[in-house]
């Protein structure tokens, strides 16, 4: 049940990250932060120099506690880089880790519209608004756990595959090493001497 459906009061916190000058150099982050205050159910807006850094994470955790936030939007980099970081931050603050949403105002905005600051700021506002609107419908999720088969497949019996296989096997793991040629060795086995030591390859 999302809060939208369950009727729980939504308390959304928005955190705008400067990423040094990576974002703030193009997007007017102060204006973005101020503007975000008026978005529906946003009860707190923070402005971080580096949201992913320890001080940034602390600011978010403290704001969650102080303002009793139950949804978090971080306007920063791509979720492909730091969603995990912010999920952990929420977990530490005692919130379900799926209650955070990121607005990618760096890779998809400040870095690619460096010469159009006003338009970039306008786009950043849209991205934050979109994330906030999505946050309304975020629901706590439990991550399923799966057992791991304790065996590794190594594809390729050249120097890299051999090294990886022996490292893993020496550490006690079961290894299946698959090589397409009749024997292992790969390209390296064809070399005579190898640099920088000038010794034999096989």
């Amino acid at each position: 049940m999302s809060s939208e459906q369950s009727g729980e009061e939504l308390r959304i916190g928005v955190f705008v990250c400067d990423c040094g000058s990576n974002i703030a150099g193009t997007v007017d982050t102060a204006e973005l932060a101020e503007w975000s205050e008026d978005l529906p159910d946003v009860v707190f807006v923070g402005h971080n120099r580096y949201a992913c850094s320890d001080p940034g994470q602390k600011e978010i955790r403290e704001a969650i506690e102080e303002h009793n936030l139950n949804r978090v939007v971080v306007a920063a980099c791509t979720p492909r880089q730091h969603e995990f970081t912010f999920r952990n931050c929420l977990s530490e603050a005692g919130l379900n880790r799926y209650l955070v949403e990121m607005a990618n105002v760096r890779e998809h905005c400040s870095w690619v519209h460096q010469r159009e600051k006003e338009q970039a700021t306008a786009k950043a506002k849209d991205l934050v608004a979109s994330a906030v609107s999505r946050a309304h419908y975020l629901e706590p999720q439990e991550e399923p756990t799966m057992p791991v088969t304790r065996k590794v497949l190594v594809i390729g019996g050249g120097i890299a595959g051999i090294e990886a296989s022996t490292d893993l096997a020496d550490a006690g793991h079961e290894v299946v090493l698959v090589e397409k040629e009749p024997s292992i060795g790969g390209t390296m086995a064809r070399l005579d001497k190898t640099y920088p030591t000038m010794d034999c390859s096989v």
Partner: protein, 611 residues
Amino acid sequence: MDVGRHPKIELLTYSEIEEVNGYVGNFEVKIRKKARYVDPDLCNACGDCFDECPVSVPDEFQMGLSSRKAIYMQYPQAVPGAYVLDMESCLGNNPIACGACAEVCEQEAIDYDDQDEIVTRKVGTVIAAIGLDVYDPTEMDEYGYTRFENVITSMEFERLISSGGPTGGHFMRPSDQERPKRIGFIQCVGSRNPKIGRPYCSNICCMNTVKDTLLLSDHYPDTENLVFYQDIRAFGKSFEDLFQRSKQKGTKYIRGLPGDIEEDPETNNLHVTVENTTAGKIERYELDMVVLSVGVVPSEELQRISSLFTLSKTADGFFMESHPKLRPVDAPTRGVYLAGFCEAPKDIKDSVCQAGAAASKAGALLNSGEITVEAITSVIDPDLCKRCGICASVCPYSAIMWSKGEVAKVIEAACAGCGNCGAACPFDAITMRHFTDAQIKAQIRSILSENAEDKVFVFACNWCSYAGGDTAGVARFQYPTTNRLVRTMCSARVSEEMVLEAFRCGAPVVLVSGCHFTDCHYINANRQTVKRMQKLWDKLEKAGVRPERLQLEWISAAEGQRFVETMNRMEELRQTVTPEEIEHSMQALKSKPKKKKKKKEPAKAEASSSE
């Protein structure tokens, strides 16, 4: 080598990966063990069979510089130390014609009726270390590799100077078996050459040539070595030392790549013309032999392995890592790690380092015993399910159990969360956790609530298109500010309703973008995207909406440039859409008020009360 003897390593040589199912922690892999026709457990490598075999074919291991028999071992120290029979050249499959090897084999290890065997292995993690291929310089005809006998590649050089090579290590030139006295090395053959589509540096060739010149001056102090180069890249630990030693021992380094090579038909000597860019002069050299320092190219196996594990490639054709600095050995598919050349050109030391890193990552995952999976799986509401089975039919993982007349059920462990079923369900009975219809529609409405006419609305899949946008960002490529992206795990998550909703909200242009077919991270879910789009184009046309306003593009994670080109094109398209058109589509695509349908099913008190 320890690998063949290690009790924890099952070594499957002469084998190929056929099929992969499952996901991180629980892959099931089918492996084809090709018929060897010689039982490696019985074979004691005595070599009697080799002596008897009457067939002679070029030896691939020796780069074709010598011949091998149909029954052979790649090299004397080979692991496993057993012979293999190349059935394509063997005469023994007709025992009347031959059968000589089997007759002399005291171990009775040879079996002409041996068959390929498919074995299945369950594994938790995978390390891809599939290596490289060497560039074939045939297309660079100016160097005459196929025309002049004494033009060889650096790989052939390795075999010619190796004591395990076809000449026993006596270095000689192919035309007259004489020892060459003046040898020229040409660098960057197949590397740093955008004209032939090989713009990248192959990393190893500079130092390999430095090594070759040192070998020559050690073995034959009277040889004269010349190296034609554009830059010598001796950046690694102790590399500069070797480079200086090579120069001290007399190797001449000439800055400039030869334009062409001609052969003296009498002597088979080679005339090389080069612009010496340091001296600013055109120079000609007569050489006994030319070694083309060939670059490296992605393995021909790479595409196949890439498809099997849904990995991605960079523009150069090597495997793409999750992050170029921070996750250099993680493949985009969780639980798959990259090691060695297949990730990018690198030397032995770097391959060993990366293999160690990949092993450590894979081992850490195995040690954990269990993994958590993202909570993005599909959930079916049994009350809303109308038992049609469409979801089961589109699921690429067969993760939905359904039989006629039954409510469909998701097997959570098998569901990867692409959202294809959620987009396909005509009855809104499926919720994709964390990518719900309500969440995505809220984003659509929010983005298009103001000045919709100025915006290009984009649905981008997490793995490829959204990541392609990230790549464009990292590269600081600039493009119009008008696009607005909404991320879904797969383009197949995008339902007809979502696209229509965007048009209803006034979007001038809607782009749905996903992975290229072979790169789809959900096996082939994006084929359903295509089907859905085709339906939508028809629908738009019928409603009098220009179908071009809905666009479909495949952009891979590596294709930042393609992402930019697409965004430029979308912006151009947006500018052609008139306010009248937008107004018309907003009206024409309005969802029709739901009729009777709801009343068809009686006793749905809970369902209606929750609305």
